[in-house]
Amino acid sequence: MIFTTVHFILFFAAVFPLLFMLPKRGPARLWFLLITSYYFYMCSVPWYITVIIGITLVDYAAGLLIERASTPARKRAWLGLSIATNFGVLVAFKYTGFMAENINAAFDAGFPVPHIVLPLGVSFHTFQAVSYTIEVCRGRVPAERSLLRYAIYVAFFPQMVAGPIERPHNLLPQLHAGRELSFDRFRSGFVLVLWGAFKKLAVADLVSPAVNTVYAAPQQFSGPLLALATFLFAVQIYCDFSGYTDIAIGVARMMGFDLMTNFRQPYLAPSIGEFWRRWHISLSTWFRDYLYIPLGGNRVGTARRYANIMIVFLVSGLWHGANWTFAVWGGLHGAYMVIGSLTAGARARLWGSLGVRADHPALALGGVLRTFALVMLAWVFFRAATVRDGVHIVRHMADLRGFRVTDLFTLNLPRFEMAVAFTLIGAVAGAEFVMVRRPAAVMRAWSWRPARWACYTACALGTVFFGVFEGAEFIYFQF
C-alpha cells in the first residue's frame, strides 16, 4: 500500500480510531497492529508476507538463543545464523540476477538470469531485523520474549517498507508500554503527514516526468537540460524520500509511537560528512554502528580508515540496488569523504593564511553550494540506467552547445507546471532554511493560530491543486 493513495487514507481512517477503541491492557491492540501491518504489506505482492513471517521467526528464535547461549562462540554462531538468513534473503531476491549477469559477462558462463520481483522494502526490514540480533548479542537490549511484539517490530506498517530503519532499543520498549492517545502528538503527526504528502505529491511527482524524459535518453539532450534534469532529480529524491519519512513518522506519532529522525535538511549541509549526518540518518548510522565501527572505525591507521570508509560507502551503494551505477554513486561519496579528510588541514591553513575565519558566512555558503554540487554529481549515477549513461551526462552537463531555450518545452513539463515546480521547490527550500536558521521565529509564528491554520490550508490546497494523484510509488520502495 502506498501512503499517498485514497486506499491508505481510508485504511488509516479506519485503523486509527479502532486502535484506540481497543482495550489498552492486554494484547488486543498489538494483535490489531500486527494484522493491519500484514494487510498493509500484502497489498503489494501478497505471498511475500511469508518472507516477513520467516525472518521474524528466525530472528525471534535467534534472539532468545543468543541470550541463552553459554559462551561467546555460541552467541556468535546464533548471530551468524540470523545474519546469514537475513542477508541470504536479501541476496536471493535482490542480487542473484545481478551476480549471474556479471559472471556471465566476465566468464561467458551462460547462467540463466532470473528476473525476480523484489519484496517491498526487503533491504529495510532485513537491516532492522539484523540490528536486533546484533544488539542482543552485544548485550545492549534483552531478547524479546513476546513473538507478537517482535513481529510488530519487524512489520510495523508506517515504517516497514522504506524505514526509518528502527533500532530495538527505540521501538521495542514502545511496544511494551501502552500507547496513549494524545492531542499534541496527533496534531504534530498530522502536520508531518500533510507536509510529507505535499513534498511527495506536489513537488517530487510533479518534476518526475521531466527527470524521466531526460534520463530515458540522455544522449538526446543538451548540457543545460542534463544539468536541469539532474537538479530536478536531486529535488525529486529528497522530496520523495523525506516526504515518505515525514508521513511514516507522522502516522506513527498519531498512533503514539516515536520513530527515528531520518532527515535534517541535508542539502543545507556544509560538507559531505555533514550531509551524511543529515541524509537517511537511520541507514548511515546503521552502517556506522554495524559495519564501520566493527571494521575498526577511527581507531585504526589512516590508510585503513580510508579503506574502511570506501568499503562502507561501496556497500551502502550496492544496498540501494543491484547495479554498478549504485556502486559508483557510493564510491563517489566515499571518495568525497576521503578527499575531504585528506585536504581538511590544508584548507584550514589556506583560510587561516588569508585571514578568513573558519565560521565566516561566505565560507559556510560556499561549503553548502560545493556540497550540493558534489551530491548532485553523484546523483547522476544513482538515477542513470547505466554507468555509460552516467558518464555521458557528467561529461556533457556543462556543454552549452546546441542549447535553445525552446528545448525546455521538450522536458515533458508544460510551462505552467515548470513555473509551479520551481515556485514549490523555492517554498520547500525556504521553509527548511527558515526552520534551521530561525527556529525561534518559526515557533513564535507557529504558536499564532491563524498563521498555523493558514499553513495547513495552503499545504492542503497546494497538494490538491498541484499534486499528481497517479499512485506513483516512492523511489525508495524499490530498495
Binding site: 493513495t5 485514497v6 486506499h7 481510508l10 484506540f20 494487510y39 500484502m42 497489498c43 501478497p46 496513549e180 492517545l181 494524545s182 492531542f183 496527533f186 496534531r187 524524459t213 535518453a217 538526446q220 539532450f221 543538451s222 537540460l225 528545448d407 518545452f409 521538450t410 505552467f416 509551479v420 491554520w453 495547513y456 490550508t457 492542503a460 490546497l461 490538491v464 491543486f465 499534486g467 494523484f469 497517479e470 499512485g471
Partner: protein
C-alpha cells in the same frame, strides 16, 4: 492537572479539531467549487474539449443524420487536431462512399476511450466504423479486491475536488491576457465560442494555445532533441483486456474497427514501413478489425503548429490521406447488409 487527566480529554479534542479542520477546508473548497461552477469556461481548451466529448458520450448524440455510415475517429490530441470530419465526409463521397457522417473523438492527453466507446454503442449512439489511431494501454488495471479496493486515485480526487485545475487554467488565461481584465473577459468569451465551434466542427479542434510560431507553422529548421530520424517507430497493437473488450463490443454490435496511421514530423522518425506484419498478425483471425496504410505518415514542419500537432493545412492533408486509405474498407461496410 496530571498528564493522564490531560490525555483523557484527547479523543474529544481530536474529534473537535478534526471537525474544525474539515469545516475550514470544506468552506475553502466550497468557495472554490462555487467559483469553478460560476465560470465554467475558465478551463484549458483540452479540459473543455474533454468535458464536452465525455458529456456527449454519456448523454448526447454525436451523429445527427439517419441512415448515414457513421465513422468515429478515436485517439489522442493528434486525432483531435488532425482529423476534420466535414472534409473526411466530402473526401469519402468523392472516393465513391456516399452518406458518410464522421465524428472526431480525439481526447487531449488521453489514451483511454473504451468506456466512452462502449457507452455510446450501448445507447445506440455509437459509430458503424471506428478509426483507431493510437493503441490503447496494454494493461488494464486489475479488478478491485480486498487488498486493492481502489485501483485508480485520480478520478476520485478529480470528482472530490472538481476545481483542482482552476488555478492553473485561470493563471494561464490571465498570463495570456497580459493580466488585463478586459482581455481576460475576451479570452473567457473565446473559450465559450471554442466549445461551440468544436461542437459545430464535430469534434475537430485546432490547438491554438500550443501554437507559438508565426502563421501557425513550425519553422522549417525545427528539430526536437527526442527526434530519431534514423529509426522507425513501429505501431504495437497490444493484446490484453482492452483489446478483448473492443473486440467483443465490435463483434456483438457489428462495429468495424479500422487501424489507421498516426502522423509525425519529417525527421522525427524514419519513414514507416508500408506494411507492419507484426501488427497484422495480432489482428489475424479478428474479422472485426482491419489495418490500413503504414504505421504513420510524415509531414513537413510547415504543416505543424507545434512539435506534435498539425495546423489546419496539415490536418486537411492528413484527413485526405486517411479518407483515401479507408475508403475501400468503407465501401465493404456499405456493401454489407
Amino acid at each position: 492537572m496530571g498528564d493522564r487527566a490531560l490525555q483523557s480529554g484527547a479523543p474529544r479534542r481530536i474529534a473537535r479539531h478534526c471537525f474544525l479542520a474539515a469545516a475550514v477546508f470544506g468552506a475553502v473548497c466550497a468557495a472554490l467549487w462555487l467559483v469553478n461552477a460560476r465560470f465554467p469556461y475558465v478551463r484549458s481548451g483540452a479540459t473543455l474539449v474533454t468535458e464536452m466529448k465525455r458529456g456527449l458520450a454519456e448523454a448526447g448524440r454525436p451523429f445527427a443524420r439517419d441512415g448515414s455510415l457513421r465513422v468515429m475517429a478515436f485517439g489522442s490530441s493528434k486525432t483531435l487536431s488532425g482529423f476534420i470530419p466535414d472534409l473526411f465526409d466530402r473526401e469519402a463521397a468523392r472516393l465513391g462512399v456516399a452518406g458518410v457522417e464522421s465524428y472526431n473523438f480525439g481526447l487531449p492527453g488521453e489514451f483511454a476511450f473504451v468506456e466512452e466507446f462502449e457507452a455510446m454503442v450501448d445507447r445506440g449512439a455509437g459509430p458503424d466504423v471506428a478509426l483507431l489511431i493510437i493503441p490503447w494501454p496494454a494493461e488494464e488495471l486489475p479488478a478491485p479486491s480486498v487488498l486493492r479496493p481502489i485501483t485508480h486515485n485520480r478520478p476520485i480526487i478529480d470528482a472530490v475536488f472538481p476545481f483542482r485545475k482552476l488555478p492553473r487554467d485561470a493563471f494561464i488565461m490571465a498570463t495570456e491576457s497580459g493580466f488585463s481584465p478586459s482581455r481576460f473577459r475576451a479570452a473567457y468569451a473565446e473559450s465559450e465560442r471554442t466549445v461551440k465551434q468544436v461542437a459545430l466542427d464535430r469534434g475537430y479542434y485546432f490547438i491554438a494555445r500550443q501554437s507559438h510560431y508565426a502563421n501557425d507553422q513550425l519553422p522549417a529548421a525545427f528539430t526536437a532533441p527526442t527526434d530519431t530520424p534514423g529509426q522507425i517507430a513501429p505501431r504495437v497493437i497490444p493484446r490484453g483486456p482492452v483489446f478483448d473488450r473492443i473486440s467483443k463490443l465490435c463483434r456483438e454490435r457489428g462495429v468495424r474497427c479500422i487501424y489507421v496511421p498516426s502522423y509525425f514530423r519529417e525527421g522525427q522518425y524514419a519513414p514507416a514501413r508500408g506494411h507492419n506484419p507484426e501488427a497484422a498478425s495480432v489482428l489475424a483471425g479478428h474479422d472485426e478489425f482491419a489495418i490500413v496504410g503504414p504505421d504513420y505518415l510524415l509531414y513537413p514542419n510547415r504543416l505543424f503548429s507545434d512539435p506534435i500537432h498539425t495546423n489546419r493545412v496539415g490536418a486537411e492533408d492528413y484527413t485526405r490521406a486517411i479518407a483515401a486509405l479507408v475508403a475501400p474498407e468503407l465501401k465493404k461496410g456499405r456493401a454489407a447488409p
